[in-house]
């Protein structure tokens, strides 16, 4: 450890730009993620407006999409698909993977395990800057004349491979693939760093069973990432080969725009397998950190130990393991052998068990607590609520028989937005409200936080709950307009309602952004441990120093959840407090 003695001279560039300090990198991830989030959400509002008021002309489209993408203010039909694609890509990868994991893994792993920094600060810096470059490339693809990638965020070939099939599969798709390849490299460097740090740099006394659940979640998430992201990388690479070098990994027997192409022997189903081998674990890469954050926040604000600490760890590991063997439930009707469908139905529905355990444990943690309803706590409770609502419909989608009729309808949109989109976003917000004092030494305004939560909570239900019904009515997703089918005319009003909820909900995020940026500079000064939490990060001084603790790294004597433990005066006992004579570690 070369930085043991605290501060050394840092220039502006080494401190704020090419920083190797995990706290600064966390902030860089956070702010980049939030800005990408704005782009992702605005795109979704654009295509929601198109669905609600099909083929109408909007001033705002003229300004933001321009004459090329929206001639006369009417969105082009392939641009609609492009917006859907980029919205999905940005939200899943750039906001909820890099933004969420990047921020909180970086911030909390060293601070909560008692380390001076990540195992490799340099690799950590490289990880952020590669992420940054991939963001820039992805954003650049929005300005390509033929439009950005338009084959859906799952980029299934042949649609994504052939510019003849959709204009977005030209330069736009090339940029998408390059951006994602760099993103994956960035993500892998981050994940390897997290794993090595958690295994090697825990402070004295910090055994694995004394780790906060946040760290367990980040740790396991990083492992899933290392296992599955390379597979997506290979899929992207093979797709690049098919697109540019004439190979036939995913393409075969294609006749398009009047000619037969030379491809022979490949299979799009192979791509689906490779994609979803990452794609499904990706859901948990997004969700597990949010659940980890929630575990920590619910315990702290309930002033109670998290219920079933070991069961929580077991369920994180079970979910992680199962998540790598369920990818086929995205492919029940892809044309793969129905026997595989049976296998994947079985493994998929098994995931409901650890998920149910988690939900019940959260609820039990609230029981007989002394709940401090801070904004972070509200978002955590909100997460449990949407996790249940969204997770339950997984029983339908994971069942091959039922999936036949709701596959790729709005029912799916409702399910995954609630269970991973909104839930993970709530985890993100909860984490920001909770650890803001740790990051910036100041507090966010709680009243603005309350307004932010309640409006968001109502709007999130308002947007996604009705989608179950239009999905069960058979309305497919990714339709530019539903007017081609008189059958769907009766759903038009619901779509308008959804869009209104979406616009209101998105607009109120301004409250959050205002609160966030204002509080960085003008928020109230934070005390050292504002939430009276047990974990180690609150024992470090408010002012950031490279190396985290000015003197020795604190030693850990107990698990992080001794809240309201009998025999102690305060309702929290930090991990650094030695066990009293005769005191038992009750959770064992």
């Amino acid at each position: 450890m070369s930085h043991e003695h605290g501060h050394h001279k840092e220039t502006f560039i080494t401190k704020y730009i090419f920083s190797i300090d995990h706290k600064m990198i966390a902030k860089q991830y956070l702010i980049t993620g939030l800005l990408m989030g704005i782009v992702g959400v605005v795109l979704s509002l654009f295509f929601r407006m198109q669905i609600a008021w099909p083929e109408e002309s909007f001033e705002i489209f003229k300004i933001f999409l321009g004459e090329n993408f929206a001639p006369g203010g009417v969105m082009r039909n392939d641009i609609y698909l492009a917006l859907v694609t980029i919205h999905g890509t940005i939200m899943v990868f750039f906001v909820l993977t890099a933004g969420l994991s990047g921020t909180f893994s970086n911030l909390l792993i060293p601070l909560q395990i008692g380390a001076r920094d990540m195992a490799s600060g340099f690799m950590n810096m490289l990880s952020y800057w590669m992420f940054f470059i991939s963001c820039i490339i992805m954003l650049c693809s929005l300005f390509v004349e033929t439009g950005p990638a338009s084959a859906g965020w799952t980029i299934y070939p042949p649609l994504s491979a052939l510019p003849q099939a959709i204009p977005g599969s030209g330069l736009g798709m090339t940029l998408w693939l390059i951006s994602m390849a760099i993103f994956i490299a960035s993500s892998l460097m981050g994940s390897l760093n997290y794993i090595v740090t958690v295994i090697n740099l825990r402070t004295k006394g910090m055994s694995m069973t004394r780790l906060p659940l946040t760290i367990w979640a980040f740790f396991v998430t990083a492992i899933i990432g290392v296992v599955s992201f390379p597979v997506l990388f290979s899929a992207a690479l093979l797709l690049i080969f098919d697109r540019s070098f004439g190979t036939s990994f995913f393409l075969s027997d294609i006749f398009i725009s009047g000619e037969v192409l030379h491809y022979q022997g490949g299979s799009p189903v192979l791509f689906e397998h490779l994609f979803w081998f990452l794609g499904h674990p990706e859901v948990y890469i997004v969700l597990l950190p949010a659940l980890g954050i929630t575990s920590e926040i619910i315990a702290t604000n309930s002033r109670k130990p998290i219920f079933g600490y070991r069961a929580m760890i077991a369920s994180i590991i079970a979910i992680a393991f199962l998540s790598t063997i369920v990818w086929g439930h995205h492919m029940f009707i892809s044309g793969m052998n129905p026997f595989l469908g049976s296998v994947f139905t079985f493994t998929t529905l098994l995931i409901a068990i650890p998920s149910a355990v988690k939900a019940f444990n959260y609820i039990t943690t609230l029981w007989k607590g002394n709940l401090q309803l801070n904004p972070a706590m509200l978002f955590s409770i909100g997460l449990v609520s949407t996790f249940i609502t969204g997770g339950l419909t997984g029983i339908i989608l994971g069942d091959s028989t039922l999936d036949i009729n709701v596959h790729d309808t709005y029912f799916v949109i409702a399910h995954f937005h609630l269970v991973m989109g909104i839930s993970a976003l709530y985890g993100f917000f909860a984490g920001v409200y909770h650890w803001f004092p740790r990051m910036f030494g100041r507090m966010m305004n709680k009243n603005l936080g309350y307004v932010h939560f309640w409006v968001t909570a109502v709007c999130a239900y308002g947007v996604f709950f009705p989608m179950h019904f239009i999905g069960m009515a058979g309305l497919p997703r990714r339709y530019y307009s539903n007017t081609a089918f008189p059958l769907f005319d009766e759903l038009a009003n619901v779509n308008v309602l959804i869009t209104i909820f979406a616009i209101v909900g998105a607009t109120f995020q301004i409250v959050f952004f205002w609160n966030f940026f204002y509080s960085i500079f003008k928020g109230k000064k934070s005390p050292m441990n504002p939430w009276k939490s047990n974990t180690l990060e609150w024992t470090a001084p408010v002012e950031h120093i490279h190396g985290n603790w000015p003197g020795e790294i604190p030693e850990v004597h107990r698990w992080p959840y001794d809240y309201s433990k009998p025999g102690h005066d305060e309702d929290f006992v930090p991990q650094t407090v030695p066990m009293q004579p005769g005191e038992e570690e009750l959770h064992h």
């Binding site: 705002i60 027997d253 130990p305 529905l349 607590g369 609520s385 309808t409 709680k446 301004i510 504002p530």
Partner: protein, 383 residues
């Protein structure tokens, strides 16, 4: 004008936020003004009640949705296996509804009931193996039942007996339309590959194959009631998905391979049009369309056609710019009507001979023009 509206909306939102924070501020009146941004007793109390209110919101919204939108759901299945699917769906939905109601109640009620107060101490309750076991085992049992029932139905749907008396129909997908091919007298579809595509042979049927001679091609999918139909599904360009929601049937169309789905249609189109729920649905849709037509006519545009019920095959896998309008009418007839309809269709080989004999030029030209056109359009777009 629009910018003015946007401005007004932004101002109103600003006012709304300001007012809402005021409300939270006002709840602090009477308290010693504390300056921390940590929740105090008043915050806990207000948000605790709001939690309870939110539970009410979820319940009321759910009930409203069921009443207002419950009828959107597709209604009577038109295929044999559709009943099993709907049955399983109903069981799952009831289960979900039950669990959702209870867990959301517990979650929000606890958040309300145990809202924090100064001086109150939480219960130190870290573990209980019995409870853990209960909520592990209950889901295990429930899921075991669901999995078994689901897999049983899945196997019923996806596997069929070759010995069975089935009819083979090919569904052929391309950007952005569908075609169907009937196997004809021999009930065997002729070989096909996109490399054979030429002129009116848009499906790429191998004309040398004896099995192909009696195949028949159509642009509407007609099915006989009560007969098991095995669909062989192909695509010529990108992924598509043949989705027939009323039959609870869907299978992707994958270029380079033939996928398969089978079902027995049980309700003819005519019968379905008499179905009470469908009649109500059609009436409702026609009212909506009539209203829309009024505004369209006022704008000097054409009115919408009234809607009559038909089964549909629609594309349900993102496939390009006109993905949203890639559909084909499906008609279920009585076996007699179906046989009559099919027998009036010329066989593919005779259509081919006709097209390539004396005056094939017309047909071919038509085809070419279309092809050239799409190329041009796409080329322009790419440019």
């Amino acid at each position: 004008m629009t910018s003015l509206l946007v401005f007004i909306v932004l101002v109103l939102i600003g006012v709304a936020v300001w007012q809402l924070t005021k409300i939270f501020d006002l709840t602090q009146v009477g308290e010693a003004k504390d300056n921390s941004e940590v929740a105090n007793d008043k915050d806990n109390s207000v948000n605790g009640y709001l939690m309870f209110g939110f539970l009410g919101f979820i319940y009321i919204f759910t009930i409203y949705s069921l009443v207002a939108w419950g009828e959107f759901v597709l209604g009577t299945p038109a295929s044999e296996h559709g009943k099993d699917v709907d049955n399983l769906m109903e069981i799952s939905l009831v289960l979900i509804f039950f669990v959702q109601t209870i867990t959301q109640f517990l979650l929000h009620y606890f958040a309300f009931k145990y809202k924090g107060k100064k001086g109150q101490k939480a219960l130190y309750f870290a573990d209980n193996n019995k409870l853990e076991a209960i909520w592990t085992i209950i889901p295990v049992i429930v899921l075991a039942v669901l999995i078994l029932y689901g897999l049983y139905t899945w196997n019923q749907i996806m596997y069929y007996d070759d010995e069975e008396d089935v009819m083979y129909v090919e569904i052929y997908a391309k950007q952005f339309g569908w075609e169907v091919r009937y196997a004809g007298e021999d009930n065997t579809l002729g070989k096909a590959n996109v490399r054979y595509i030429e002129g009116i042979n848009t499906l790429g049927v191998d004309m040398e194959d004896p099995n192909a001679q009696d195949d028949k091609v159509a642009t509407e999918l007609h099915l006989p009631k009560g007969k098991k139909v095995v669909f062989k599904i192909r695509s010529q360009d990108v992924l598509h998905s043949a989705y027939m929601p009323h039959f609870r049937a869907q299978m992707n169309a994958v270029p380079g391979m033939v996928t398969q789905f089978a079902f027995v249609p049980t309700v003819t189109t005519a019968e379905m049009r008499q179905n009470e729920k469908i009649v109500a649905k059609v009436d409702k849709i026609n009212k909506i369309r009539a209203n829309k037509s009024k505004t369209l006519i006022a704008e000097g545009k054409e009115a919408l056609d009234p809607y009559t019920f038909d089964y549909l095959l629609l594309c349900n896998k993102i496939c390009g710019r006109s993905h949203y309008n890639m559909q084909m009418k499906v008609v279920v007839d009585t076996p007699e009507d179906f046989n009559k309809w099919l027998s009036e269709k010329p066989t593919f080989s005779s259509a081919w001979k006709e097209a390539n004999a004396p005056a094939p030029v017309v047909e071919e030209k038509k085809e070419e023009v279309v092809v050239a056109d799409t190329t041009k359009v796409i080329a322009q777009v790419i440019k």
